[in-house]
Symmetry: C2
């Protein structure tokens, strides 16, 4: 299997061989819309904590799924959903004590000045709305993102998601810069700021103007870059000076994953104009949100009616509240920091010719798989499937698809981390 | 309060007066993103069947909400969600017997030839994807919609939703035609087809080309037009002849609301290339889907990676399966036909100077409120708030915002319909 930079979005997605009757049924109903993990796809039937159980009884250690972030089927989130769905599940045009309380609690955590919340169903919808607001308020169209960015699946956010293109590339009003990493040498923050400044100048020279710098605070699909978060502060400054808006995409790093508070952008000390969140927000209940400066939202509401049927409903709010409760009560941010450091130290200590750089923070790590000095996406794919054979699930990311992406539920224990490290060492270094 | 064609999307949305402490809290957290029903917003705490209960104990008859379509808090849907959310709630990259079975069952109902399903979180995402597919396959950009159409809230589908514009209007590559109604005189289908043909010619003359005819099969936001469904057959033929794709938006009319089978477009005898569905699909659990010809989906997958994190998860599939069970086992399509006819006959029989045309079918009715011969949106707003005072909830729609929109849960009983008719007669005709 050949993996290029265009396949990152689906690089762990196979269509199966069709011999599996359930795979055949999947293909007959979902066709080209189906993507399945692993060369031998897995039928899952249940999950708890950081483990998922297949139909044949096999239990997999889950180091991939960042949606069930407080743990699969967490009883407090499950209970909150079960209780609320039996009582009231309706739209946000009625007042609901559950939703009002959740909004206030969430808003108090977010590092956007004078912020207001617009709920959506998905991170894609949140980023789509954020771009509309930035474009309306600036009257400009140009957006700068990183070179292997992913910001969602609508028409508008696909344009700013270079990894989604299998043919051609992003339109001219979208400019790409490398993520803050080795590409910039010793001055990562300065280099990143200069690259952003140049990209903005290009947008202006070509008549698009500059609307927004849109940035996943941990650069997930770029391959997990958290070298120098002062790059975010520098980029925010460049963005503001140029008259654009800084949209912090916290769909992946948000809700404690980095082990440094709820929001990575806040940990970095940067102040966005708009912040988007999603995936782990309801621990699997479909919900997301955009938080924006009140003045930007008000300007948007003058120009457009906006309503989102399912968004901000009481069941979502109940799930979201339970997620915040569990993060606090179970100390999951501290756990992400501690177990993440244990994993990162363990991976860094491995002496294997196939392991390149180890990056990331908290429970979002990237491990480059290399052949000599070159990225080895085929090797990464083989490792992913070999780990699957040892009942451990990880994914891949990065511009070349050679970066193993390790982002388990935040409740991962030290023992589970060690189990992964042991198996990974066997596969990359050899038998102990 | 003045209501123009630009306010339809929010014409029942007020911000409240701020004296209500919960309204004040809402405004502080959601700001301009908040829209609330009624001059005096309601805090809801629970709901069952076609009734919703406010925090002060008042029970409202719900003739507005088309999302909890099999009835608020239906025990079978609630039970299915409660059971599945406790066991497994994960993405569709694993096989899941629940999702595979639901996909097959759903697909068997849909009137798209050689169809495959792509799950999404919202009807907006489904329509956004449908437009991308139509544009990619035609290489053209132009879309024709009806003059007060609403197809969702992303950047791309807002462009084809004229009612969402409060300033300015749709872009030049979107052309508007009146819905199939009195605007076309005696030959509604012929007139609608001619208007579509002219719009397509305009798109081609102006260099946009023609990608899709996108049409809500019951023209909900246009004011509920179901005069002559042969108009859909004629429009499909015009669309195909012109080399475009017919996208049937069944987000509102789908899942039995019209009382004529699950899909209005099928009842009309028209065959779309793409069909989108949403709102009632999970009775409030956030889920939606796009069903497209397999070849169109395959062509799209060659060009773009597409994945939707929450979509098609086992909890959604469980909710969706329960919805189909209830529709079948409780005979809700027949109930929609019978109770809808009772409502429509009752409304048509009312002799009131403020009631104009009564339109629609099944449990989706539109009632024009007029002053003399003129649309009276202020009168419609007064009626909505007067009905709220009598513990009955309805909404409004239409190009001028003067059409009462009646679309209760499909379980509405004859007695509940009669209660509404009695109160409505008192308010529009006078005491009995």
């Amino acid at each position: 299997m050949s993996v290029t930079s265009r396949d990152i979005l689906d690089m762990n997605a196979f269509h199966g061989d069709g011999d599996d009757p359930l795979v055949a049924r999947r293909l007959a109903s979902m066709g080209a819309a189906s993507t399945l993990f692993f060369e031998r796809p897995i039928e899952m039937v249940s999950a708890q904590g950081a483990e998922m159980t297949a139909a044949d009884g096999t239990v997999f250690l889950d180091l991939y799924n960042n949606v069930p972030s407080v743990g699969h089927s967490h009883p407090r989130v499950v209970g909150a959903v079960q209780d609320q769905v039996a009582r009231l599940n309706t739209n946000s045009r009625y007042l609901s004590a559950v939703t009002e309380a959740y909004s206030e609690r969430l808003l108090a955590t977010v590092p956007v000045p004078d912020a207001r919340i617009a709920y959506t169903c998905s991170g894609s919808e949140a980023n789509d709305l954020a771009l509309r607001i930035a474009r309306l308020s600036t009257g400009k169209r140009g957006v700068v993102v990183t070179e292997a960015a992913y910001h969602g699946n609508t028409a508008a956010v696909t344009e700013v998601s270079p990894v989604s293109y299998r043919q051609g590339g992003v339109p001219d009003h979208v400019r790409l810069i490398p993520p803050p990493g080795p590409a910039y040498g010793n001055d990562i923050a300065g280099g990143f700021a200069s690259a952003l400044r140049a990209a903005i100048a290009g947008l202006e020279a070509d008549g698009h103007g500059f609307a927004a710098f849109l940035c996943d605070s941990i650069f997930s699909s770029d391959g997990v870059f958290a070298f120098d978060w002062s790059a975010l502060v520098a980029a925010a400054e460049v963005t503001r000076t140029a008259g654009g808006f800084y949209i912090a995409d916290e769909v992946q790093p948000g809700f404690g994953r980095t082990g440094r508070g709820l929001w990575a952008v806040a940990a970095a000390g940067a102040v966005p104009d708009i912040l988007t969140m999603g995936k782990p927000m309801g621990n699997g209940f479909p919900m997301a949100a955009m938080v924006a400066r009140a003045d930007l939202l008000a300007r948007f509401a003058e120009a457009f009616g906006y309503f989102n049927t399912f968004a901000g409903n009481p069941v979502a709010a109940a799930a979201g509240s339970a997620v915040l409760d569990v993060i606090e009560d179970e100390g999951l941010i501290a756990n992400a920091a501690a177990v993440g450091a244990r994993l990162k130290d363990g991976l860094t200590a491995l002496d294997s010719p196939v392991i390149g750089a180890v990056r990331g923070c908290g429970l979002y790590l990237g491990v480059d798989i290399v052949a000599g000095d070159a990225p080895d996406p085929d090797g990464a794919t083989r490792l992913i499937n070999a780990l699957r054979g040892r009942r451990i699930m990880v994914g891949a990311a990065g511009r070349f698809g050679h970066t193993l992406k390790i982002r388990p539920p935040l409740c991962l224990s030290a023992e589970q981390a060690d189990r992964f490290l042991g198996v990974f060492a066997e596969l990359t270094v050899g038998p102990a």
